[in-house]
Amino acid sequence: MASRTNKIRPIRKPITNRDQSEFEPCWALLRDAMTDIHLQNAGRLSFEQLYRASYKIVLRKKGALLYERVRDFEQEWFRDHIMPNIAALITKNLINISLLQHPGSSSHERREMGEKFLRGIRDSWTDHNRSMNMIADVLMYLDRVYTLETKQPSLFAVTIGLFRNNVLRSHIGAAAEDIEQDFVVFDILCAVILDLINMERDGDIINRNLVRKITAMLESLYETDDEIENHRLYLTLFEPRYLEASTEFYRKECEKLVQEANCSTWLRHAQRRLNEERERCGTTLSIMTTDKIASVVEKELIEAKLDVFLAMEGSGLKPMIDNDRLDDLSILYQLISRVDSTKSALKVILQRRVRELGLEIEKALKNTDFSVAGAATGDGEEAGEAAEKAKPQTLNPAQQQTAAAIKWVDDVLQLKDKFDRILSDCFCDDLLLQSAITRSFSDFINSFNRSSEYVSLFIDDNLKRGIKTKTEAEVDAVLDKAIVLLRYLTDRDMFERYYQKHLAKRLLHRKSEIHTEKEMVSRMKSEMGNHFTSKFEGMFKDMELSKDLTDNYRDHIASLGDADYKTVDLNINVLTTNNWPPEVMGGGTSKGEGAKPDCFYPPEIKRLQESFYKYYLKDRSGRVLTWVSSAGNADIKCVFPKVPGKETGPLSKERRYELNVSTYGMIVLMLFNDLVDGESLSFDEIQAKTNIPAPELMRTLTSLSSVPKCRVLLKEPATKNVKNTDKFSYNAQFVSKAIRIKAPVISSISKVEGDEERKETERKNDQTRAHVIDAAVVRIMKQRKLLAHTKLVNEVISQLMGRFKPDVPLIKKRIEDLLAREYLERVEGDSSTYRYLA
């Protein structure tokens, strides 16, 4: 076709002139057709005929003229047929209500009027749109050839754009002469839509379809006929106003909420609004706005007064946490995640609350102590409470403290469970929040100066009781909890010290299941590393070796065949000094006491000790055994002969009992074997004969002479407390229902330390830390040779992190000490850098 056109072009040139006259008829045909189309009378039109007419015109190079004529025709049509309708829609009332926001109109009235106006606009748009489509179809050839060649906007774009120019941008004339501002129809349109949307936000039902039609119109109209994608009227005109109006709306709403609502309502409201707005974009406006309007709501409704809402008394974050309002917390988390990826507002309050609750636990503990003390006094001392006030006070605090420790741990674990639940149920296990919560837990746990001790006591208590009451699964859960707490402790060296002490007592007194103990230690090992548990493992090993040793020694004695009836059965624990706590090893708990002189054992025991030592050295020459009399115990078979003169009752028969007493108790009782009936020994005499330290002796004698169930000694005078001047004699009238009697060990409860003891423990621990820091400094400097002060300090801290949190002044002091001892020197000319002196 093109090639033919090229060929015949020279011939046709004269023809064009002749065809000048052909244009008008063709145009007339087209014009009539367009009128018919507008009048919706297109049924009679022949598409082919019309197409041919436009084809002809274009072929005759009259495209430009046609293009113009069509445009002019449409403009005229607008002027004559459409604008009057539109003008009729724009009543004074409408303007007043929509643009000037005159008060005094009900929303119903406004809605009716607004929707009427929108319907009018919609109808004329629908007509125009349909007509323009048809016309564009008819004039397709014009668009294909002329418009393309001349690079003009398509006829459709131009004619459809007329609606924009003539309707939307037309000024409001006659109806509003008293308005100074120059409004166009679009302003009304926009105001009406915004008003309708606000009505819907306030709960009215509006014609969503109608609004959607209008916004669709705005979406399909452009700023210019070039139809640039970003220049849709919806985006350039409507959306900004919509967002602005929404901002205003939500700002007001938020202020109102702050005044009138509580946090919980606000959360739900904000969530509902977000959903509504998203939905509205789908049904009423355009999905292009979804994200933008969401961010308006986020900013105005959520972020703006976030802190105020969170701090609200009774409904803010704090009560939400305290009362486990999990729903509220979930919504809150979702909302906050929308506005702030760091969630700092939430995080800060959360952390503060964890710490506060932690401190409350501590405070509650202090308050409970007194009431427990009262209760304990009532329980423990049935008689003579008033007479001996000093006694219960010295005894009971230990038990109270154990109870306090258990309570503290339980409370902390409960708190932890609570926050774990919140974290998983409401915060989607958010890592940021998780670590924040963990940090806060660690903060308050470590700010409590007895945490290490209490955690160890908690384990102690559970492992001890575990044997009787707990199933394996329960014990397992307890171990898990203990490990959880252990993770929070920064002063792990303190914990190690306490645990060692408690473990030692459990092992020596066989108070726990060895496999549970081992399980616990192996968990600690995997949590904190080998170095942490090496001592504990050493203790286990000592216990195992001791058991073998005991068995072998027994066999050895049996093999001697010397069946002496006086042979004492020995159950021995050989403890390696370094693995066991010094308290147990008889190092003395109070400082400055030095090595205690050993007590005087009865000859039977002495012989036994020598015999065992000899046996022990057979395979292990060069070792030294020290007998720790304070840590052992003994079973004594006692025979109480028939009391003369008693013919009935238990006293009339000979009684045999097995008495389990401490080593000291055994030594004391042995003294009475050699005593003639009726004679007594004074406290001082007993001490002189046994060399048992006075406080220990006092406790031992209390246990043997004051506790009813094992009162095998009589005390003169028969008061509760043992004094230096008291005399003791054999209680020939002793009776007991049980055959095996365990003499209670007074105050050897492993339990919590007293203040004095704790200071002592801390002092020892500080000493150890000083050595550990020294070692770390030397190790680092040995490797680095030269290092600046700050770097050294940092490195020491990072090396020791796993064991405890060293404090900077202490490190500084240790460095100074090393300088004085010439392990380090300052570098000449740079006194803040140290050099290692080999």
Binding site: A788, H789, T790, K791, V793, N794, I797, V808, P809, K812, K813, I815, E816, L819, A820, R826, S831, S832, T833, Y834
Partner: protein
């Protein structure tokens, strides 16, 4: 008894000392006759002026020293009396810091004793470094020059100051008795408030008598002896306070000994140095890291 060698090795005034004065080594050589130094034979070159120095030392020996050494044995050290006489003969005031200058040259390791070894080695190395001939007059000149130098040359001052630590302490101990240290500080850093009057480098700034404050602080808070680090760092700290009397250079995370940290806090408590406004804190040595 062999004298202990000082850790720091050479205790000579550094060459920078000479460079900062009119007495350049070159000037010295011309002043005191080059022939002596130029025409040394090999042996002499190797041994230096040791024979002459030994003879000089012999002349210092008093009767007591001879008696102390025992009959017929060479005298290896002279005692307090002879040492004082020697110091005076060098033109140095036995009462003040000038004595330290002489003692530093002859490598004494206590105030009351000069050893032969220290005397010979000390002067000998000065001879080798600066070509100071081994005779009384030249030594006197050299000592005078050093004394003049003391207030002007911080590096030399520091050397003598640090040397004094070894002089003042008991041989068996590692630290200086507090009382001795206080006297020494007066000698070196004395201000108008000191009993001994102004030292060569008075520790004071425009508004603050730092030495006075330091002594008051030590009297209140410090009961222990003064170890080497504290002794040395006190001078370093003193130098800084003389530049910045607000103590703005100080920061608790720096490597100052604890006693100096305490002193700073004490000064602030006493109103001697105002704590700098927050944010303005920090001198040129701020290298605080976040831990």
């Amino acid at each position: 008894m062999r004298p202990r060698r000082m850790r720091n090795g050479s205790l000579l005034p550094s060459s920078s000392l000479l460079a900062t004065t009119d007495f350049t080594p070159c000037a010295f050589a011309m002043l005191h006759g080059a022939p002596h130094t130029v025409y040394m034979n090999d042996r002499e070159r190797k041994r230096g002026p040791d024979d002459a120095l030994n003879q000089l030392f012999d002349r210092l020996v008093g009767d007591e020293d001879r008696a102390a050494a025992g009959a017929g044995k060479p005298v290896e050290a002279i005692g307090a009396e002879a040492a004082q006489a020697y110091i005076s003969s060098m033109g140095a005031n036995i009462e003040n810091v000038e004595a330290f200058v002489v003692l530093e040259i002859v490598r004494a390791d206590s105030i009351g004793q000069i050893t032969r070894q220290g005397f010979v080695e000390g002067w000998s190395s000065i001879y080798l470094d600066h070509r100071i001939p081994a005779d009384q007059a030249h030594h006197r000149n050299y000592v005078r020059m050093c004394i003049q130098n003391l207030p002007q040359n911080p590096a030399y001052f520091k050397k003598v100051y640090q040397f004094a630590f070894g002089l003042g302490k008991e041989p068996a101990q590692k630290a200086l008795e507090k009382d001795v240290a206080l006297v020494f500080w007066d000698l070196f850093l004395g201000t108008e408030s000191s009993d001994t009057g102004l030292g060569p480098r008075p520790w004071k700034s425009k508004n603050v008598d730092w030495l006075g404050a330091w002594k008051r602080f030590l009297a209140e808070k410090w009961t222990r002896s003064v170890n080497k680090d504290m002794w040395n760092q006190t001078l370093a700290f003193a130098e800084k306070t003389m530049v910045d009397e607000t103590l703005g250079f100080w920061n608790e995370d720096q490597a100052w000994p604890g006693v100096i940290d305490d002193f700073v806090l004490w000064c602030r408590e006493q109103g001697i140095a105002k704590a700098p406004a927050p944010g303005a804190a920090g001198g040129e040595e701020m290298d605080v890291e976040d831990y």
